[in-house]
Amino acid sequence: MGNRTDEDYNFVFKVVLIGESGVGKTNLLSRFTRNEFSHDSRTTIGVEFSTRTVMLGTAAVKAQIWDTAGLERYRAITSAYYRGAVGALLVFDLTKHQTYAVVERWLKELYDHAEATIVVMLVGNKSDLSQAREVPTEEACMFAENNGLLFLETSALDSTNVELAFQTVLKEIFAKVSKQKQNSTRTSAITLGNAQAGQDPGPGEKRACCISL
């Protein structure tokens, strides 16, 4: 799956990055879109954006990624950011249990505002700090499985699984979109919500989880 020029694409997928403050959302994004990591990135206020176009089969898919602020207080105003999102990376810091403990609340928030068919991946970030790990892989994996989420552990710092995480989410969305048998591939943002009832797996339905690393 190579990169294409940014302006040449068949699909736009809106993907949101959510999770507590300081778990590394902005760095995951900069690693994926610019292959950069910053030890001293700034607090995100509101929302920031990045895009990257990837090839999935013969289709060029432009990922339009919304990097949101993690502060709980902001949620009332940031909920509008979920609108139209077809994918989400729910990020926690695997060295801070507190950021994992609130994952369920984030999930609820997400399902309250986004399409029910949204593809969600639970992402345990900072896997490079394994000596400081507070969240066991099995625990997070189990949670993901029970909630029908994809799951991966990543490190934005050493790049581990960052590419894979985004690609997997995009592929999953793409598979859903293809299933909708949209015979037109014109350039437009894709909504999964309008799919006929029963055709798409609901959020509760189990999907492939724990991709082998």
Partner: protein, 413 residues
């Protein structure tokens, strides 16, 4: 010439290079790196025609280099002159502020002369004083009160770090967990506040000051607490004021209606501010307004960052301080006027961008925004819509939304 000695051909007068050099009253730097060498003595000499051609080419190159360097030198000289001029005018402005304006603040601050000087930017050496005076101290916060709040904050940090239980129950409703989260968040954000300045981070000279102000504020206003964005505001104040004065300015600044609406994340009121902004947006930039509308680019996407941090995160610090200068004078209206100025400055490119590119552009503005251009753009923004001023438009919208709320109490965006 050295090279000719080495080349062992002293007998060929006059060297083309010497000719060139003789004509130069200005010695280009690059000629020292650009020397026409003849072939080494052990090789057969160039044919005369080729040698002539090389000489010509060489002369042309040197001439071009000379031109370039002359230009560069002129540019540098001009830059230096401009810099001196700017510094001189800052120096004069400092005198005016210190000797004329500050001693007669009450009578002078709203005069035309002072307003003009103010618009050009307050000199950094008096900036803190002017900000303090302009922001005022409606809350009557004293240095002693700051000390008390700070002492209380420190007590809490100690008890949290030793794992002690509730210190007191006067803050019923704000659980220990909330306070701890807030404290953690402050720590996290301090390291992410102007990280490139390297002065607020752990071990940096202003780390403790920033920590103190934010901590003291959460004790002073537990109902507001710490909200992201505050660390940037406190940091900018610290750059211009002593700790206690920075705290006073910080608390009073956050107490202004617009800042309270945002930092308490009063969703309804924030929407009212965005709506008021859009009234002036449409008035000033109808084409861009329609373009954004078509692309579903709502104002909150870029305004949230700009308003929460008062532009200190999104604009170069020098420029942000100049925005603060006028914000302290004109109030919240100027924050929205600035936003319109930025949009106006980039109207042409923004109207050619789609949603995601505009959103990306506005949430990450160019790093080298020239202050003069931004201020020129701001100055052309009219804060008047159908004879109504900002405050009137805002209060009319507020009234509307209150009436709507009565109709459907749980109305949400």
């Amino acid at each position: 010439m050295e090279y000719e000695d080495k080349a062992g051909r002293p007998s060929r007068p006059p060297s083309p290079k010497q000719n060139v050099r003789k004509n130069l009253d200005f010695e280009p730097l690059s000629t020292t790196a650009l020397i026409l060498e003849d072939r080494p003595a052990n090789l057969p000499a160039k044919p005369a025609e080729e040698a002539q051609k090389h000489r010509q080419q060489y002369e042309e190159m040197v001439l071009q280099a000379k031109k370039r360097e002359l230009k560069e030198a002129q540019r540098r000289r001009k830059q230096l002159e401009e810099r001196c001029k700017v510094e001189e005018s800052i120096g004069n402005a400092v005198l005016t502020w210190n000797n004329e304006i500050l001693p007669n603040w009450e009578t002078m601050w709203c005069s035309k002369k002072v307003r003009d000087l103010w618009w050009q930017g307050i000199p950094p050496s008096v900036r803190g004083k002017v900000w303090s005076l302009a922001i005022g101290n409606e809350l009557n916060i004293t240095h002693e009160l700051f000390d008390i709040c700070l002492a209380r904050a420190k007590e809490r940090w100690r008890s949290l770090s030793t794992g002690g239980s509730e210190v007191e129950n006067e803050d019923a409703g704000f659980s220990a967990a909330d306070r701890e989260a807030s404290l953690e968040l402050i720590k996290l954000d301090i390291s992410r506040t102007f990280p490139n300045l390297c002065i607020f981070q752990q071990g940096g000279p202003y780390h403790d000051m920033l920590h103190s102000i934010l901590g003291a504020y959460t004790c002073y206003r537990p109902d507001v607490g710490y909200v992201q964005g505050m660390s940037f505001i406190a940091a900018v104040l610290i750059l211009n004021l002593d700790t206690a004065d920075a705290f006073i300015a910080f608390s009073n600044l956050l107490n202004k209606p617009c800042q309270m609406a945002f930092f308490r994340v009063d969703h309804g009121l924030m929407l009212t501010y965005f709506a008021a902004f859009e009234v002036f947006f449409e008035e000033n930039l109808p084409k861009l307004f329609a373009h954004f509308k078509k692309n579903n680019l709502t104002a909150d996407i870029y305004l949230i960052d700009w308003i929460f941090t008062l532009y200190s995160k999104s604009l170069p610090l020098d420029l942000a301080c100049r925005i603060w200068d006028v914000f302290c004078r004109d109030g919240e209206e100027f924050l929205f006027r600035t936003a319109l100025g930025i949009l106006k400055l980039f109207e042409d490119i923004l109207t050619r961008m789609d949603f995601i590119h505009s959103a990306q552009f506005l949430t990450r503005l160019p790093e080298d925004l020239p202050a003069d251009e931004v201020f020129a753009a701001i100055s052309t923004v009219q804060m008047q819509s159908r004879n109504k001023k900002w405050a009137q438009v805002l209060s009319a919208l507020q009234k509307d939304s209150r009436e709507m709320e009565k109709g459907s109490p749980s109305l949400r965006h």
